[in-house]
Symmetry: C2
């Protein structure tokens, strides 16, 4: 018998039928003797419907009132799911964020959780009830309704699991778990049974988009074992936890992430003096543009090239900013390249395994793919290449590092 | 400068455009220097949409969860209306029933208000904000969300007005106010400028359906001046208050109500002994059937006829119950008549004016309308007649008692 916090997203509760399917699943855990706390999002489409009404009234709706409005979305779901559970003979009680209470700061539409009062939930569990909590929302010290921003339901679930000292926090979604890479790109991409928080953070931020980064950080910080699994299909999904997998079979590489919506800017021929990187990147950051990869390389002639990437949608705006800087610095030129792709290998095993980078470069060289930029961290190596080679690079690396299903038949049949 | 509580029902806030029209109206009162507290219902159609989802899940949804579900309806409206006010430069803050707080008992889906904490609202008003409150909902001592049952928004408004000691409680609806009778039946039905609580109670319960009876009772008890007026048209509407109108022009009769959805049952030839009315009516009440008019008349032969009316939809069920009783009592027969109509004259002036009843009977006799039953109270006389004469009776009485517009041209042009 375990205490499990489960979170079901908007697609998983998108219709009355799907809510009933979730109720079946939850009832199964209860029958199994587990205590269950369920966190739900708004039914898919509902949040957009509410936002559309607000925007008919004002372009930038008052944040305080936006939270009052949007928090109704999850409140509808908790009521319907509790009814569906009761209908199955499974006693259930719903709670809004304010009722739990999920205490947040007062930053409307992007509040951060400060504290969760777990006593009421523990009391309900002791009475044998399933507790159904509205995700994404909380209440400020002054009693105002707040929301955590989109995707905040994952964070609610993890925070609740931490406060309740739950055995596991399960995030139900529309994929079976975390894969070695995007299965739409690589047919034999393998479902990972286990991954560390650090690896998940790198994979999520690089585009795996299975979980909210914030929730993963939270789970890592409070050491809450996190499991990603499908609402619609059977399977144990992917467990995300602190421990590295210590099997002999442990792959050095957990997965391959990639991005194709970035653009690369190079400011060539700037003086090779201290503070030059700040001179170039500072104004870009000040404009609220997020900079991803940054590489600086001093030439023998006393000048310097600074190259960095930003979201492709910000490319032109960034170029305008950088050109002003370049003129002032008397740089040789500014080059914008939108046709790039980024591929990253992620794995905690890299720490203890030399030669991963070398092998990566060799695999790409064998396919005649030119590497434009390289950045490394302890558990990640990223390369920027010409966009048209992106699929080829991901497939070659996936196979070169033996990540595919063919090499894990035994593990695969377990799932 | 006055403190006004305004309530806008579902039709008045049924679309974003209508919410904006309400905001315009409220902003007008603010510009005039009034303090305004606005109570709103769910957008029309929303409550039915939510109920339909709940009933897909369970036939009789858990009352506690039903309240969690339905209370989202008004929460959406308070947020949107507050945004619309802010958009007009009119500072506004929304509050759910739980936030105000509107403390109720724990009877889910039909809770009764126990207490309202007016301090938070007074604080907001002092800061120059319009306060927008979700009607229909409250919170129990244990922090559970409750609802007051359908139409409860009127009650919320009156209770708030009482707690805040407001100068007036205005109920905005889709009619211009309270008329001498249904304008759809009598073309020159006159809008009443003023009516007493007692008269309103008699008119509402007899079918005028402008206001929730419960709200009128509440207003009368706490002496809150209540005004019914249109959201869509200009006009001062009808003021409902304690004071009788003392103008020389005061009509003795306030209005004429009528019902056509009743049925009449007669148990003829029951023994004329004590307790016989209870023997007949008791089982009907026990079955949860509401009995309206009851008339008993002892005959000279030592038997008795008992006649009463019920909702027409309950007629057959009532007949079955009464027939069992009749057999036991050895009554002569049970007669069911579904083709009846009831017409009532209402007016506090009756107390001091003799001859109203006689005049009513004469007006009906002049039209050759036979009266089947008569009941009277201090401020009301009701007669039951054959249904096909209902319109004729109402029109004849309306004109016979000089209630029409023609006699009040001056007053009419004021509105």
């Amino acid at each position: 018998m375990a205490l499990i916090v489960q979170k079901y997203g908007g697609t998983s509760v998108g219709t009355v039928e799907r809510i009933e399917a979730v109720a079946d699943k939850v009832a199964g855990f209860r029958d199994n003797g587990d205590d269950v706390v369920v966190v739900v999002s708004a039914m898919s489409g509902e949040t957009n419907r509410l936002i559309a009404m607000a925007q008919e009234i004002m372009e930038l709706p008052t944040p305080r009132e936006m939270d009052v409005l949007l928090s109704t979305g999850e409140q509808v779901t908790i009521a319907l799911l509790s009814m569906a559970l009761e209908q199955r003979g499974c006693c259930a009680r719903s709670f809004t964020g304010g009722q739990v209470r999920v205490l947040t700061d007062g930053s409307h539409t992007r509040a951060r959780i400060r504290e969760i009062d777990s006593s009421k939930i523990h009391g309900q569990l002791e009475q044998g009830n399933v507790v159904v909590v509205a995700g994404f929302q909380g209440v400020s010290e002054d009693g105002h309704i707040t929301t955590l921003g989109r995707g905040g339901s994952d964070t609610t679930a993890v925070a609740l699991a931490a406060a309740l000292e739950a055995d596991e926090c399960q995030i139900y979604t529309d994929v079976k778990g975390v894969y070695t890479t995007d299965p739409r790109m690589v047919a034999d991409a393998r479902l990972l049974a286990h991954i560390t928080f650090e690896e998940m953070l790198e994979l999520a931020s690089l585009g795996a988009k299975v979980l909210q980064i914030r929730a993963v950080e939270f789970a890592g910080k409070y050491k809450v074992p996190l499991r990603v699994l499908s609402s619609f299909e059977e399977g144990a999904g992917t467990l995300i936890s602190l421990e590295e997998n210590t099997d002999m079979e442990t792959p050095t590489i957990a997965g391959i992430a990639f991005e194709r919506d970035e653009a690369k800017l190079t400011v060539a021929g700037v003086p090779d003096i201290p503070g030059i990187a700040y001179e170039v990147i500072g104004p870009v950051s000040d404009a609220g543009i997020e900079v991803d990869v940054i590489v600086q390389n001093a030439a023998a002639d006393g000048t310097n090239d600074i190259t960095f990437t930003v979201k492709r949608s910000e490319a032109e705006r960034t170029k305008a900013i950088v050109e002003t800087v370049a003129t002032r610095l008397k740089a040789a030129k500014v080059v914008l390249d939108k046709k790039i792709g980024k591929v990253s290998l992620v794995g905690v095993g890299m720490r203890s395994h030399a030669g991963i980078a070398a092998k990566m470069f060799k695999v790409l060289a064998d396919e005649s793919i030119n590497i434009q930029l390289i950045t490394t961290s302890e558990i990640k190596i990223s390369v920027v290449i010409e966009e048209k080679y992106l699929e080829l690079a991901v497939r070659a690396l996936h196979s070169g590092f033996d990540l595919g299903d063919a090499n894990y038949e035994e593990e695969n049949t377990k799932n």
